[in-house]
């Protein structure tokens, strides 16, 4: 059985059921039942129209489940009188599923889980593994999410920005277990961008591709972090970079700038530089200025300080940093980097050690500890 095909069909089958009036949670259960049935039957006899087959079986499962519910007998009579399902509509309405799964009434964690399940077609076990929680926990998270959006109808377009945020969350989880969430996020964003004409969707897709292109070079074989400047650029995926840049340029040409396009532009400038020294930092600072205008996020200002340090020298970077709250995540790491480049190794070593204490993940902590150790060894020599 072609698992990729089934997964790509799952969302549209689900959407057909919901369109026909099935409650979201019940529809989702029925689709899962139909997939189990497909696993059983297809190896022996694959249907010519896989989607039509799944819709028919899922609808029958839905009716069975509804019928079994005695309290719903009256409504079920009405359902039974409806015409038998014809061929599935060619219209692609998976898009609405994206909006439903990123509904503002859901917490970010629930929205992510529901998106991976309903749009991505991943199993509960796969999602649980990717997020390192027990399957029972993830099952509850998903069923709560389903209940939350159960009453939501497909009558209003949702907020694209929310959908993009959910997809970006998935992407940023990276990969663990047997599901590569970064690749999955790219697949879903590709799907979305084929269905919706929006420069920020293109911007997010470009951003993901450009980041993903550098993934192989981002960690050493022992799992330790390799900073951008030290990455082996020969290991960057030039095809992905070219694709990302192409998508970004088309988006920018439409003159409706948003934060994902601006971030992608910065990523593209990094990806474009043949060596770290040839990075166009002046242009990067300009993009950070745009990004600051669009988001006014302190994290963006922090990253901007790094870029200013490269474009105008570490003193200028430190001056930009001085305007920011020292309690920001990674503030100490940025300060350490700028002080090192300014030649103040003692301060840099102290700040690297301080940054290591508050690092948000293991790889970063180890990296910062190594930086501190490197400077301390250098000084005591």
């Amino acid at each position: 059985m072609d698992e990729a095909l089934v997964r790509s069909l799952t969302p549209s089958v689900l959407t057909v059921l919901v369109r026909r009036g099935a409650d979201f949670a019940a529809a989702e259960d029925a689709v899962q039942d139909a997939l189990v049935e497909a696993l059983r039957v297809w190896p022996a006899e694959a249907p010519r129209d896989a989607k039509g087959w799944l819709v028919t079986v899922a609808w029958r499962k839905f009716l069975d489940a509804t019928r079994a519910d005695a309290a719903r007998r009256r409504r079920e009579d009405r359902v039974e009188e409806e015409p038998a399902p014809g061929p599935a509509a060619a219209v692609d309405d998976t898009l609405q599923l994206y909006f439903l799964c990123a509904h503002p009434s859901l917490t970010p964690a629930s929205a992510v889980a529901l998106t991976l399940r309903a749009v991505g077609g991943l199993t509960t076990r796969q999602i649980a593994q990717a997020y390192l929680v027990p399957e029972a926990t993830m099952a509850q998270r998903i069923s709560r999410a389903k209940r939350t959006v159960s009453g939501v109808r497909f009558d209003r377009p949702g907020d694209v920005a929310t959908v993009l945020r959910v997809l970006y969350l998935v992407f940023n989880e990276g990969h663990s277990g047997d599901v590569d969430l970064a690749a999955e996020a790219i697949r879903l964003t590709r799907q979305l961008s084929a269905r919706i004409d929006h420069p920020e969707v293109a911007g997010l897709l470009a951003l993901m591709l450009l980041h993903h292109a550098r993934r192989a070079a981002r960690t050493a074989s022992d799992g330790s972090l390799v900073p951008l400047a030290e990455q082996d650029r020969a290991r960057w995926d030039t095809a992905l970079i070219a694709e990302g840049v192409g998508i970004l340029q088309a988006a920018l040409a439409r003159d409706r700038l948003g934060e994902f396009q601006a971030q992608a532009a910065i990523a593209a400038l990094h990806a474009d530089a043949p060596t770290a020294e040839e990075t166009d930092w002046v242009q990067i600072v300009e993009w950070y200025d745009e990004l600051t205008r669009l988001t006014d996020s302190p994290i963006v200002r922090l990253n901007r300080a790094v870029a200013v340090g490269e474009a105008d020298g570490p003193r200028a970077g430190l001056a930009a940093l001085a305007a920011l709250d020292a309690s920001l995540p990674r503030h100490a790491a940025v300060a350490a980097y700028l002080h090192e480049h300014d030649g103040d190794l003692a301060t840099a070593a102290r700040l690297y050690a301080e940054a290591a204490h508050t690092a948000p993940n293991l790889a970063e902590r180890d990296h910062l500890t190594r930086q501190a150790a490197r400077l301390n060894a250098h000084r005591s020599r």
Partner: protein, 135 residues
């Protein structure tokens, strides 16, 4: 989402407000306490925030490599050391505030006299694998 470790101490944490040692509670009080903890875990499973939890025996030993060809050195039990962990639970929540809220609820487990222990729980974020984007 971020994971946090909740550490319950036998010893090593600041004294709780209702600090009668457990062996001086009534059996019913102990049952109520255990029930509260189980209910708490079950509730977090339902909200999709539970990851793992276990109780630990108070006995433990320190173990150390003692050089090539020699068996590891053991020492202990470490009951006399200042810090002693009674159990732990890992939760996976949307925010630090939510983690604090849950730790507060767990700390309200009933103790002697059926009143909340108000025990201090240690709350520690778990360091995770790196996110994809680090630059």
């Amino acid at each position: 989402m971020a994971k946090y470790l909740l550490l319950k101490h036998y010893r090593g944490a600041p004294a709780s407000a209702n600090c009668v040692p457990m062996d001086q509670w009534t059996p019913e009080e102990i049952s109520a306490h255990v029930q509260y903890m189980n209910d708490f875990a079950a509730r977090l499973e339902k909200t999709g925030e539970f990851v793992e939890g276990l109780a630990l025996a108070p006995e433990g030993a320190w173990v150390r490599y003692d050089g090539e060809g020699r068996p590891p050195v053991t020492d202990g039990p470490f009951a006399e050391t200042k810090d002693l962990i009674a159990g732990w639970m890992v939760i996976d929540v949307d925010s630090y505030e939510r983690a604090v809220e849950l730790a507060g609820e767990l700390s309200a487990a009933p103790g002697a006299g059926g009143k909340p222990i108000h025990e201090w729980l240690e709350l520690r974020p778990l360091l995770a694998a790196p996110p994809t984007i680090t630059e």
